[in-house]
Amino acid sequence: MEKGELVEFPEQPAVYAVYNKDDQIQYIGLTRKINVTVSNHLRDVPESTAAVRYELLPDASRDALTGAWKAWMEEALSETGNIPPGNAPGETKWQSRSARPKADIKLTAGKAINVPIETLIDQVVKSNKVVAFVKGTRSQPQCGFSHKMMSILNDMRTDYEVVNVLDDFHNPGLRDAIKQYSQWPTIPQLYIGGEFVGGSDIVEQMLGSGELQLMLRGESK
């Protein structure tokens, strides 16, 4: 099979192998949309993505897809004696992060506990690098400003936690308590490195000025 050039890939399911510029196999993957996946690899691991060999499997069943992937994997194993570095256990650079979105943080299990909500807020803020308190969830924001803040964090591929202030069952009283905690009257609220950063207007302006990028890399101040 010829190695495909990195030009235009069809929007179809495929099994594929990625090679670096020294023609060494880097990763064997399975995708529903080869065009999207290859552009993700080019963005995430450009240094290792020089060529892609692929086989389109337009109407294959789930089993047929995994079967094809296994066959490719075995072929690579017999040729090189190793599994490709991108498929090594614990390797995350090649796996799509959007495949399994992180669950939101819940401050309580929904049972009455004797810890004040302020203490729980403080714990979450201090023990996570980036935390957004929003209305709604990652997948279903229930306010335009919360949506905007999470979109900015997603675009920057930030690893961040989400707490839903509208989930009164798991986060009782949070909607008002978070405003007291930061002395800030609106939601969403972003915290980085244990410090309150601002609401969506501030985050947007800091993105424009480059400050947000510095802060997320821990280089500010």
Partner: protein, 96 residues
């Protein structure tokens, strides 16, 4: 109900603002505003401190406002600089 002019009056009064722009984005129910403020009360203050000043100025109205988007908190010097930058462009547009 809160009107755009209520918001404007408060900001001018509490922040001694030189210039205030308030846009009612709620479609008339007074629950949602975009604001831009120019005031020397912002001198030497970080963006977050400037936003806090705006929130404090509107504290009495906040319970009735659902959404407040602070588009701009400029000092007079920042506004002057921005106007100066825009002026040559406007002049150029005028000659065409």
């Amino acid at each position: 109900m809160v009107t755009a002019s209520d918001v404007e009056v408060k900001l001018k009064e509490k922040l001694d603002a030189a210039d205030v722009t308030v846009i009612d984005t709620s479609g008339g129910c007074g629950a949602s505003f975009d604001v831009a403020v120019v005031s020397d009360a912002f001198n030497g203050k970080m963006l977050i401190a400037r936003h806090r000043l705006v929130h404090d100025a509107l504290a009495e109205l906040m319970p009735d406002i659902h959404a407040l988007s602070i588009k701009r908190c400029w000092t007079k010097a920042q506004q002057a600089a921005a106007t100066q930058q825009a002026a040559p462009a406007a002049a150029a547009a005028g000659t065409s």
